[in-house]
Amino acid sequence: MIKAWSINKKLAVSYSLLILLVVLSILVVLSLILSGRLMRRAQGQLDQKLGDITAAIQGQLMDVIAVCDDVKEDARIIRALNATGPGERPDKNAVPALIQERYAASDTLIGKLILIDRNLEILDPVYDRVLYRDAILTDEDFTEFLEKRYGFYFSTPGIFPIDPEPSSPEEDRLTIVLYQRLLDERYWLMGYLLSIIRKDLLFSPLHEIDPEDLFTWIGVFNSERRLVFTRGEGPAPESVLAALPGGLNRTSGIGPPALRERPPFVTAIEAQRTLVAVRQIPRVNWFVVGLTPYRRAMSDLRLAIRLILAIGAGFLLAGIALSAFIARTITHPLEEITRTMHAYDENRALAKIDLQASGELAYLVRVYNRLVDSINESIRNIYAEQEKKKEAELRSLEYELDFLQAQINPHFIYNTLNAIGFQAEKAGNDAVYDSLKSFNILLKAAVSGIGELVTLRQELSLVDNFIRIQRLRYGDTFDMIREIPPTLLDARVPKLILQPVVENAVFHGIEPSGRPGTITIRARRSDGGLVLEVADNGVGMPVGMQADLAAAATLQNDDRRRFNRIGLANVGERIKILFGAGYGLSLESRQGEGTTVTITLPDGQGAVE
């Protein structure tokens, strides 16, 4: 199908595809670049925010832990804790007041401080009640704290002093209890300090997180991998732990679990790609985990891609229009040429292309038009040649007709004259008979072919016949003298070459003089050629007429006809036609003295076959 498309469409589609390819390439490259940068940026933001939160929580935890240091250095509290001898029962009413006075009032994070001596006597009149005492001393967290001999230990969230049912809602778990051992300077156990921590206040930094903005879910896991605080909607804590490197692994015995802190990373949690940030609170071995859906982290990328697609689509449309326009400018001249060729193919009309083209196309058009001009010129020339040929043929036919007619007339005249001569001979008029006989000989010679070569003797015989006829008119008013070597009598000369010259001498030389004259015919060899001279002593010619005769050979037909009366032009032209420009006729005349006509011919022995 594409093969059938026009160049215009091909160009437009090609460039559109090119632009599309470029746009897609840019899209891919920008996506790769932006996704990397956005991911790093998102990771950096999450990591930094989580770091801030972790630092704040850690700071609060450290503040709570530090209270223990103050308490165990308080002399009155030490006295109360150590008053375990007979009669030295501590004043349970005095201790809380002492603590309240000194610590709790200054630390809002801790809701209450409770002292327990080394004999597990609760030094608080409220919580020393059986109901509370049993709950506190049998609490699982406190038991574990005692058994494992931790220096300090944070309970799981509950409600001090009596933990709710495990199924109770998370929001009911208001407190976290920090259990700490109180050791004297000799590291002997003095007792225990229970800090009742306001859970919401401890994790207040997490309240600053807008779930719609940064983390969709954030959770705090304690060292036992129990979730102690969470904010936002998210997956189950077990799913989160399973996705963390070493999240579910716990080292046996004492020591930190294997959960590692690492930069934010992308992983699948409950089949959803999630960006996970993990931060450790080192002193207490807690972990703060923040989650953000990958799609949200990449929302800027999607926006950028949509932007690029929109711009790319715009450029694509503009590119298609531009491609179509430019393809049109490129292919329009070609289409014009194609149309011209098509017109030639259809009508054989070879027309020139009238097109405002440029560059190579302008050159093509220019050369094409020149070619058309050349072909048209050639066609015109052919037509002209054909016309000339036709004309020449017509003229040739006319000449042939004339020639035939000319053949008919002399034969008719010849036969007629023979009949007349026969009557003259029968009547005894010998003079007329002789004249007619001579005339017939001349006429026969003239009719039989001007171009034939005859011997000089034959030519002289024709001259004699002519003279015999002229004697009838002029009588003996002129003499004929021949000065011809006998060796030249057989030389070949064109027929009737001397007769016109002699005729000219009689009519234009001797006769106008009004006196008797002599006509001399000479023949000689000269430079390998044959020279014939006809000289008369008549009136001669004026200078202008000589020049005219000399130029007669170069004159056109009409001009030459003017000189036919003297016959010289005809003779000269026949010689040049027969033998070339090196031969011909020359004339020398002096007015009042006579004229000599010199005929130059090639050697009559072999010059002409």
Partner: protein, 336 residues
């Protein structure tokens, strides 16, 4: 374009145009991407200075404030006063430096009212006090106030408790010893107004109840843990009380007290009523049956939302902010 002379030049031109288009695309994309982060802020910025970020009542106000600002296409700056007067003044300075176009704040202490108002007015920005009025030394109000109808809420709660006590007949039953745990926080004027009104209303509407039966529990920080611990002390101090009636100026107080009653098994003979933002209401609407039986709901989101709208309308339309605006105070009871 048509001046280009050769086919090769035209094709080169197209390729150049494509390259330019591509380059332009990149530049536009990069520019637009950059503009997203670097564009100068033209939206309004409203600051909300709260007393405690982690306080649920405050969270409601923040949520309402954010929601309204998002709807009005304004930016939000939330700062935590941490119940500290100096921090409040410092936060106000921060908000002004950030170019806030209006400030809504919950003052931790009315003693700094004049300082707050002076700074805000010097910066020529509107200010709205939330929860606590900004008053001078003559108790004259210095700035618009948006809050809850404390007296009305207290009276409503007191009346409800009185009617409930009458219905239950505890006061008339000589086998029972009724004690009223009044979780108060007198340092905050609004809280005191509520609890005082509640106490007076309860006494007025319960002739059989004497003032001696009302035991104040001063719970610091107005939180559930403080109420919990305080209630345990009260329970320990009055073991003779068989039936506890608990009320508080806020939901956390009554919830902490109810939790304490549950821990010691006294919740079935207890009656709790709170005044608050909805945490108690959420518990009432839950499936669990607790000693919490009613609360006067105060819509914190409505306060935050209204504060943002007031500031916006003042800034954009010049609409004056009303001197005092109160949210509704209706009693919500537990499902029977």
């Amino acid at each position: 374009m048509l001046l280009l002379r050769t086919v090769r030049t035209r094709i080169s031109f197209i390729l150049l145009a494509v390259a330019l288009a591509a380059g332009l695309t990149v530049v536009l994309a990069a520019g637009l991407a950059g503009c997203r982060g670097g564009a100068a802020r033209e939206r309004l910025l409203f600051a909300l200075l709260v007393n405690r970020l982690n306080n649920p009542w405050t969270e409601q106000q923040i949520a309402g404030f954010r929601e309204a600002c998002a709807r009005l296409e304004a930016d939000v700056l939330v700062l935590d006063n941490q119940m500290d007067a100096n921090m409040t003044l410092s936060n106000l300075d921060v908000a002004l430096e950030q170019g806030a176009d209006g400030v809504a704040l919950s003052p931790p202490d009315q003693k700094i009212s004049a300082l707050i108002v002076d700074r805000a007015f010097s910066a020529d920005i509107p200010i709205v006090a939330l929860d606590l009025r900004l008053l001078d030394y003559n108790n004259r109000q210095l700035a618009p106030y948006l809050g809850v109808p404390n007296l009305q809420a207290g009276r409503a709660a007191g009346q409800w408790l009185a009617s409930e006590l009458e219905r239950l007949g505890w006061l008339e039953d000589r086998r029972l010893t009724v004690g009223v745990a009044a979780l108060t926080f007198d340092a905050i004027w609004d809280m005191r107004l509520r609890t005082d009104a509640l106490r007076q209303s309860l006494l007025d509407n319960s002739p059989a109840l004497s003032a001696e039966q009302i035991y104040p529990v001063h719970h610091r920080r107005m939180d559930a843990v403080g109420a919990l611990l305080g209630m345990h002390e009260l329970i320990t101090a009055h073991p003779e009380v068989t039936n506890w009636v608990v009320y508080a100026g806020n939901d956390e107080g009554v919830i902490g007290a109810v939790r304490a009653l549950e821990q010691v098994g006294l919740d079935e003979k207890a009656l709790g009523c709170g005044i608050g933002y909805g945490r108690a209401r959420a518990e009432l609407e839950g499936s669990r049956t607790t000693a919490l039986k009613a609360t006067v709901f105060l819509d914190g989101e409505e306060i935050g939302r209204t504060a943002a709208e007031y500031l916006y309308n003042y800034r954009v339309n010049g609409t004056p902010i009303p001197a005092a605006t109160y949210t509704d105070a209706q009693v919500t009871e537990a499902a029977p």
